[in-house]
Amino acid sequence: MNPMQTKAVPPALEANNLAVKLGGKQVLNIAELQVNKNEVLVIIGPNGSGKTTLLLSLALLIKPASGTITYQGYASSKNTATLELRRKLAVVFQEPLLLNTTVWNNITLGLRARKLPVEEIKARTEKWLARFGIADLAQRQAKTLSGGEAKRVSLARAFALQPDVLFLDEPFNGVDSPTRQALMEDFGSVLRETNVTTVMVTHDRSEALMMAHRVIVLINGNIRQMGTPPQVFSNPVDEEVANFVEAGNIMHGVVSSQSEGQALVDVGGLRLDVVSNLSAGAKVTMFLHDDDITISLPAAQTQLSSARNHYTGKISKIFPTGSQIRVTVDCGIPMVALITKRSWEELSLKIGDTVIVSFKASSIHLIPK
């Protein structure tokens, strides 16, 4: 690689030989990690793999045992004042962690600490309250908010800081499914608009697939694989990564119509029925877990079902995993379903058979592209 070129566009942040110990035990060991400007980097991995520790280390909230973290050339070490660096960052935790005061005071705290002019604080706060649809909550006490509202405040608080790098630790955990979907849609579009450099931790593969430019798979404190979502999800480097990432279908489409939270999305000739508030014309990335798809024989087509989506296709590929079989059905676009060996045998399926794949509208997760 030409060193002059790497110097032209320095990464937003860089970690080298990062080691973190908790209670004497080494929990993180990162030889090298770069986060590029304007990219969304998603860290995935099983529970206890060190995802949050990595995120907090990069956000300068945990002191590493050794190694360096560099922000656009500024190295963070024990000697440099981290406050100035920290003011270039924002962190959204899994819990909203709001202070026991009004929503307004929560959002303005970081801005006041930066001693910004009063008019700017007001303008930014109003802008981000409105952007997350919570302008009417400004004077509410934070502890009277619902879970979803509190998450919105927490996100607005982070974006109001206009950070160079935004860190998120499982931001959509702990809210019910429709709230989560709405939250992810709003967050997704804000992320696209602001283009802010983002590092996000999740254990949910669908979030990674939909949002990430690059994905890191962290297992036992080590980066096991790094790459674009298709690279990681289609070509896992080893069995452990494979077991973790192989989860289902990612699809890109355009909303063709929407009313009362029910939308139709065009995907390569198919028209999917999904739950979304996005309006017609919106480009979306969708995710469907492989175990949310059921396969049935064409004869059973007349049976009534609450599932809104039924598509006919031919079985093109099978891949046994333990007691289950991953079946790829070509419906114009490939759909991967996970079914048990017993179902496979009882339906006496084989490659080339025509089958019907079905799934519920609410099984589809989507965010604006």
Binding site: L56, A59, L61, L83, R86, R87, L89, A90, V91, F93, E95, L97, L99, N100, T101, L109, G110, A113, R114, Q141, K143, T144, R157, L161, F167
Partner: protein
């Protein structure tokens, strides 16, 4: 039973007539214990915050000392302060013995471990992640501690009440370093002990009723401040 009724009657009479001596005793009680409480807040809240938030070698020893201090008998505090303040003592040159100043010092020593201990507990019961979040918002260390104290404001008001309650009601230390001198160092508690030993039960009861009323009013005021922003 008659004695108690007499005492309550007398308390009302003293209050209604605005008995000068009684008012002076009550006022001195408030000044001495109020000053000692304020001083104990100035030292106890920062000390408790540091102990609750910082990590340093010997922290546990200091915490155990503070916890012991919370239960220190006032007579022992009085004894130690006396040893320092008496004419030939280390601080004898200050000529503070048997003055309200000596009583404030003794009561401060009684109150500040209580305030520090409550502050320590209040800080430790906050979600440790809240501290990370506040830090992540880009605030300075001092601003962070201030925000945490604001978060802990309810238990901190309890610290104020406990500190004040401990000193307004103590008698041992005030007796030893103040000596219950009429018009100079006589406070409610020492006056009650004095009247009781003279057999003036009615007056002792009257003073007790007034002392309880003072404690109630001050606590009521603090409670109202504490519950002011409580969400219904």
């Amino acid at each position: 039973m008659g004695i108690i009724v007499d005492g309550i009657k007398q308390a009302f009479l003293l209050l209604i007539h605005g008995d000068k001596q009684m008012l002076q005793i009550a006022w001195l009680s408030l000044v001495v214990s109020g000053t000692a409480t304020i001083l104990s807040l100035l030292i106890g809240i920062p000390l408790g915050s540091i102990l609750g938030l910082a990590k340093f070698p010997g922290r546990r020893v200091v915490v155990s000392l503070v916890n012991t201090g919370m239960g220190a008998p006032p007579v022992v505090v009085g004894l130690i302060v006396s040893i320092f303040l008496w004419r030939q003592g280390l601080l004898g040159f200050l000529h503070l013995m048997y003055s309200p100043g000596a009583m404030i010092i003794a009561q401060f020593i009684i109150a500040f471990p209580i305030v520090a201990g409550f502050t320590l507990a209040a800080m430790q019961q906050l979600d440790p992640k809240l501290r990370l979040q506040i830090t992540a918002l880009g605030v300075s260390k001092i601003q962070m501690v201030w925000q945490l104290l604001l978060e802990a404001r309810l238990p901190l008001m309890a610290a104020v009440m406990a500190g004040f309650g401990a000193v307004i009601s103590e008698v041992g230390a005030s007796m030893m370093v103040g000596a219950n001198i009429t018009g100079q160092t006589r406070v409610m508690t020492t006056a009650i002990v004095g009247e009781n030993s003279k057999g003036n039960f009615a007056l002792a009861i009257a003073l007790s009723v007034i002392l309880m009323a003072i404690v109630y009013l001050v606590t009521l005021l603090l409670t109202m401040i504490q519950q002011r922003n409580k969400v219904r």
